[in-house]
C-alpha cells in the first residue's frame, strides 16, 4: 500500500511537470518566424508598415523577414515570395496582395500547409485568409470627395481625374467606389477620368499632362498613391488652378501641402497596420482571437498639419 501511494504521488508530480513543460511553446528559444510580403520595397507607405511590424517584433521577440518586389505591380514576384515563405516553413505570412485574384492559389497553398496568412491593406477576391486588416477605404473615398467639394465654390462644376496605382488591388477599387458614389450624389460633380499609373511616376505625369491638355474642364485630381502624386504634381500647369488631393506622407508631398499645391493629404496609419498585422499573426499562431478593428486614417490639410495629432501621423517616419 505504501509503495502504491508513493508511486501514484510521483506519477502525479511527473504529469504536472510534463504538462507544465509542454503546454507552452518556448518563444525565447524558438520564436515564431513571420514573412512580411509587401507590394513594394521602398516608399513611405510601406516603410511605415515595416516600422510598425518592427515595433511588434521588438515587443514579442518574433523573427521577421521582409520580402517585396521592386515594382508594386509585380504580382509574379509576390507569388514567388509566398512560395519561398512556404518552402522555408515560415509560421505565418503577412501579405499585401497586389492582385486580387492571381495570388489566390498560392495563399490557399500556404494555408493548406498550416501557415497562417494575414492580409494587410489589400485582400483577395475569393479565398478567405485567416485575417484581413485594412483601413476603411470606401470611407476614405467618401471623405476625399467631400473635401474636394469643399474646395470649390458652390455651383462650380467639378470635373475630376482619378489616378489610382493598381487596378487589381482592393484598396484602390474601394477608394474609387467611395469617390464614385459620393460624386454621383453631388450635382455638378463628375469623375470624368479614372485610370491607373501602376505606381509609375513618369506614367502618372504623362497621363496627367495628356488628360489636362485634352480636357480643359478638368479641375480636380485625386492621386491615390505617393509616386503617382509626385508624377501628377510635376505635370500641373502653372496657369490653371487645379485642386489636388493625394495619398502619401513623403517630405515632398508635405512641402507641397504647406505650399498649397496639394490641398489635402490622405494618411493611412500604416505603422498601425504593420504592428497589428504582426500581433494578429502571433495571436492566430497562439490560437488567441486577434483584435478586429479598422486601421485609422486622416485627411490632413495645411491648417491641421502641425496639430499635435496630425504631425505625429504625417511625420511618423521621421520620429
Amino acid at each position: 500500500m505504501k509503495r502504491r501511494y508513493i508511486a501514484s504521488l510521483l506519477t502525479i508530480l511527473l504529469i504536472i511537470s510534463l504538462l507544465g513543460g509542454c503546454s507552452k511553446r518556448d518563444e525565447k528559444r524558438d520564436p515564431y518566424r513571420i514573412a512580411v510580403i509587401t507590394m513594394m520595397q521602398g516608399g513611405e507607405f510601406w516603410g511605415a508598415l515595416k516600422n510598425g511590424a518592427r515595433n511588434a517584433r521588438t515587443e514579442t521577440g518574433t523573427v521577421l523577414e521582409f520580402l517585396a518586389p521592386i515594382n508594386e505591380s509585380d504580382y509574379e514576384a509576390q507569388i514567388a515570395y509566398v512560395e519561398e515563405a512556404i518552402a522555408q516553413h515560415f509560421d505565418a505570412i503577412i501579405l499585401s496582395p497586389s492582385h486580387t485574384s492571381r495570388l489566390e492559389d498560392v495563399v490557399q497553398k500556404a494555408r493548406s500547409k498550416g501557415i497562417k496568412v494575414v492580409l494587410a491593406d489589400t485582400r483577395l477576391e475569393k479565398s478567405t485568409a485567416d485575417l484581413f486588416i485594412t483601413a476603411d477605404y470606401v470611407q476614405v473615398g467618401v471623405e476625399m470627395a467631400e473635401h474636394a467639394f469643399s474646395l470649390f465654390e458652390e455651383g462650380t462644376p467639378i470635373h475630376a481625374l482619378v489616378l489610382g496605382s493598381l487596378p487589381n488591388s482592393t484598396s484602390m477599387t474601394s477608394v474609387v467606389s467611395g469617390l464614385v458614389s459620393t460624386f454621383n450624389a453631388h450635382e455638378n460633380a463628375k469623375i470624368a477620368y479614372a485610370t491607373y499609373s501602376f505606381t509609375d511616376e513618369a506614367l502618372a505625369k504623362k497621363i496627367t499632362e495628356n488628360t489636362l491638355e485634352g480636357d480643359q474642364r478638368v479641375n480636380m485630381i485625386f492621386a491615390l498613391e505617393e509616386n503617382t502624386a509626385h508624377g501628377v504634381v510635376n505635370a500641373l500647369p502653372k496657369d490653371r488652378d487645379i485642386k489636388l488631393i493625394s495619398f502619401g506622407t513623403t517630405q515632398f508631398e508635405v512641402q507641397l501641402l504647406e505650399e498649397g499645391v496639394i490641398d489635402a493629404l490622405v494618411v493611412i496609419n500604416t505603422f498601425n497596420l504593420g504592428y497589428r498585422s504582426v500581433k494578429a499573426a502571433i495571436d492566430l499562431l497562439k490560437n488567441n482571437k486577434p483584435v478586429e478593428k479598422m486601421v485609422e486614417h486622416a485627411l490632413v490639410t495645411k491648417d491641421s498639419m502641425f496639430s499635435e495629432q496630425h504631425q505625429r501621423l504625417l511625420f511618423q517616419t521621421l520620429l
Binding site: 508513493i6 504647406e258 496609419n269 505603422f271 498601425n272 497589428r276
Partner: protein
C-alpha cells in the same frame, strides 16, 4: 467512510498526527521564508529600478544643464554683436554647434520674429509664422523667461521637418548700432538626443522610462508611436499628482512599479515603469523549486510517519494477535513481543498472566481427575462387601462340611481375586488380568452353586496385554449368575469372549442362557438411570457403564440385549490401547 476517530488504528492516528504536525510546520516555515524572500526581492527590484531612473535623471539633468550653459554662452555672445559684428558672432556660435551633433539650430530672433543671429543655412519662415508658434509666444514676457517644449516638428524653415525639443529664452542683446534690445534665443535639440538617454533603459525586460512635462503631457515615450495609434495607453492619471516617489499600482491588468523623479531646470518629470511580474520572475522560479521541495518534504514526512507509526504499532498488533490466539484457547506459548518499552512490559505481564492461567487450568484438571478417581474408588468399593460376605458364608459352610479341599480352593481363588482387585492401587490392568479376576470369581461362585452352571473364557490373540480399567466384567458376570442362572432349572452356561471390533475397540462379551429379561426391565436397565434404585440387579450394570464412560468417554460403555427364557448378552466396549505390562499380581 464515516468512521469515528476512536475506531482508527494506532498506526493511522500516529501517521496522521506526525504528518499533520510536520507538514503544517513545513508549510508555515515555507510561507514565512517565501514572504521574507519575496519582500527582499521586491525591495531589491525597487531599489535597482529607482537607481536606473535616478541615473537617467542625472544624465538628463546633465544634458539640460549643458544646454542651459550653451544658452548662457550664446547670451554672452549676443551682447557682443557690437563691437564684434554679426558675422563674427555667428561664426563663434557655429563653432559651438559644429561640436554638438545634438543641436539642430541656434537662432536669435527679435521680438517681431526676425532672425538677428542664425546658424541655420536654410531660409527661415516669415516672421509672422515664427511669432505664431508656441515656443515663441510662451517665452515672451520678461528677460530671463525660458521655456522647454515637448517634442514637436520644427517649423523654422520649409525645407526640413525635424523632430526637436526647443529651449527658448528671452534675452537682451546688443544691436549692431550698439543699442541693447530684447530678443528671443532658440536652441533646437534633436529629439533623438533626449530619447537616446531613456531609450535603452530597460526596467525588467519590458519596463521603460518616459518623460512628462508639467502639464502632464508626454515629452518622450519609447512607445510613442503605439500611443499615437491608440494601441498603447499610458497611465498618466496616476502620475499626475506626484513630483517624486515610488508606488505600485495595477494598470490594464498588470501590476506596475512606478518611480517618479523631477528633472532639474526643465519642469519635466521622469517616470520609470517596471512590471512587477518581470521583476519578480526570479521569485517564480524560487517558488517552483520551493514547491517541489515542499512536495518532496511532504512525501518524505508521510513515508517517515508511516514507518514510525508502523514501528510503534506493529508490536501492539503482534501482541493483539497473540491475545486473539489465547482467546481461542491456544495457551501453548507464552507471548514474548519485542518492541518498545511499554509494549514489552505489557507483553511480559500478559505472558505472566498466561502462565498463571495455565497453572490454574492444570490445577483444575488435576482436581477433576482426583475427583473422578474418588468416584471410581467409591464405585469399586461398592462391590466388595456384599460378595465377600457371601463367599465367606460359603467357606464357613464348606468348613462345617469338612470339605477342606473346597475351602482351600475357595480361599485361594478369593485371594487371587483380591490381589487383582487391589492390584497395588492401579486402576488400569491388562485384559488378561481382568479375565483372570473373573475366572477366580466364577470358580468361587461355581463352588457356591455346585453344578448349577459352567463357564468358558476365550480371548482373541494379542488382547491379553491390552489395558482396561479393572473390575468391569465381574459385576456383569455376577448379574448373570444372580439374575439369570440362579433361577434356571437346567445347567447354566456363561460364556465370556473378548475380541476386537473395528475401529480400535475391544468387546468383552458375557453371554448367559439364564432367564433373561422382559422388555420393560431391559429398557430400565438400558436407560442407565442413576435415579433408578428399585432392584439391585441394575446397580452392577450401571456401575460398570458409568465407569467405562467416565474413563473412556461416551463412545464406549455397555450394550445389552436380552430375551425372556433365552438368556442375556452383555457387551462391554472399551478402546484398544497400547499393550502394557502385567502388574504381576498373579503369581506364576
Amino acid at each position: 467512510m464515516a468512521r469515528k476517530t476512536q475506531d482508527w488504528s494506532i498506526k493511522t492516528i500516529v501517521t496522521i498526527a506526525i504528518a499533520v504536525v510536520s507538514i503544517s510546520f513545513t508549510l508555515i516555515v515555507s510561507a514565512i521564508l517565501f514572504s521574507e524572500f519575496s519582500s527582499t526581492v521586491r525591495d531589491n527590484a525597487t531599489v535597482s529600478t529607482r537607481e536606473i531612473v535616478r541615473q537617467i535623471n542625472a544624465n538628463l539633468s546633465y544634458y539640460i544643464n549643458d544646454i542651459v550653459s550653451i544658452s548662457g554662452y550664446a547670451k554672452d555672445l549676443a551682447k557682443q554683436v557690437y563691437p564684434l559684428g554679426k558675422d563674427e558672432v555667428e561664426d563663434k556660435l557655429a563653432t559651438i554647434l559644429s561640436s554638438r551633433q545634438d543641436i539642430v539650430s541656434l537662432v536669435l530672433f527679435d521680438l517681431e520674429g526676425n532672425a538677428v543671429l542664425s546658424t541655420s543655412e536654410a531660409p527661415l519662415r516669415p516672421p509672422e509664422e515664427i511669432t505664431a508658434q508656441k515656443w515663441f509666444n510662451r517665452t515672451i514676457g520678461g528677460e530671463g523667461n525660458f521655456y522647454f517644449t515637448g517634442p514637436h516638428v520644427q517649423q523654422l524653415s520649409t525645407s526640413a521637418y525635424p523632430w526637436v525639443i526647443t529651449y527658448s529664452q528671452q534675452i537682451s542683446y546688443s544691436q549692431e548700432n550698439g543699442e541693447m534690445a530684447q530678443g528671443l534665443l532658440l536652441i533646437d535639440m534633436n529629439f533623438s538626443a533626449v530619447s537616446e538617454l531613456a531609450k535603452n533603459a530597460k526596467l525588467g525586460s519590458t519596463g521603460y522610462v518616459y518623460f512628462i512635462d508639467n502639464n502632464n503631457k508626454i515629452v518622450y515615450h519609447p512607445l510613442q508611436q503605439l500611443i499615437n495609434s491608440n494601441i498603447f495607453n499610458e497611465d498618466i492619471d496616476s502620475v499626475e499628482d506626484y513630483i517624486f516617489g515610488t508606488f505600485t499600482n495595477t494598470f490594464e491588468g498588470r501590476e506596475r512599479l512606478v518611480i517618479i523623479d523631477t528633472v532639474n531646470n526643465a519642469r519635466w518629470r521622469i517616470v520609470g515603469v517596471a512590471f512587477m511580474d518581470e521583476l519578480m520572475s526570479g521569485l517564480n522560479q524560487f517558488a517552483t523549486v520551493m514547491a517541489l521541495i515542499l512536495i518532496l518534504c511532504i512525501i518524505i514526512t508521510i513515508i517517515l510517519a508511516r514507518y514510525v507509526s508502523g514501528w510503534i504499532s506493529s508490536p501492539i498488533k503482534e501482541l493483539e494477535r497473540l491475545m486473539v490466539a489465547v482467546e481461542r484457547g491456544d495457551f501453548s506459548e507464552p507471548p514474548t513481543v519485542k518492541g518498545n518499552q511499554e509494549v514489552e512490559a505489557l507483553s511480559k505481564s500478559f505472558s505472566l498472566m498466561i502462565l498463571r492461567i495455565r497453572e490454574l487450568m492444570d490445577d483444575i484438571v488435576k482436581s477433576q481427575e482426583l475427583k473422578r478417581k474418588f468416584e471410581l474408588d467409591a464405585l469399586q468399593a461398592k462391590i466388595n462387601p456384599h460378595f465377600l460376605y457371601n463367599t465367606l458364608d460359603s467357606v464357613v459352610w464348606m468348613a462345617e462340611q469338612n470339605d477342606t479341599e473346597g475351602v482351600i480352593r475357595m480361599i485361594a481363588a478369593l485371594a487371587k481375586l483380591f490381589r487383582i482387585s487391589i492390584s497395588k492401587g492401579h486402576d488400569i490392568i491388562t485384559l488378561g488380568e481382568e479375565l483372570e479376576h473373573v475366572r477366580n470369581y466364577l470358580i468361587i461362585q461355581q463352588i457356591r452353586y455346585q453344578g448349577k452352571f459352567e463357564f468358558s473364557i476365550e480371548v482373541e490373540d494379542g488382547l491379553q496385554e491390552c489395558p482396561t480399567i479393572k473390575l468391569i466384567v465381574q459385576p456383569i458376570v455376577e448379574n448373570a449368575i444372580y439374575h439369570g442362572i440362579k433361577y434356571l432349572q437346567e445347567m447354566g452356561h456363561i460364556s465370556i469372549r473378548a475380541y476386537r471390533r473395528k475401529p480400535g475397540a475391544i468387546v468383552v462379551e458375557v453371554r448367559d442362557n439364564g432367564v433373561g429379561m422382559d422388555e420393560e426391565k431391559l429398557t430400565k436397565i438400558l436407560s442407565f438411570n442413576a435415579s433408578h434404585t428399585s432392584k439391585a440387579s441394575g446397580i452392577g450394570v450401571r456401575n460398570v457403564h458409568q465407569r467405562v464412560q467416565l474413563y473412556y468417554g461416551s463412545d464406549f460403555g455397555l450394550e445389552i440385549s436380552s430375551e425372556l427364557d433365552e438368556g442375556t448378552l452383555v457387551r462391554i466396549v472399551i478402546p484398544e490401547g497400547e499393550s502394557i505390562h502385567h502388574i504381576k499380581v498373579v503369581q506364576p
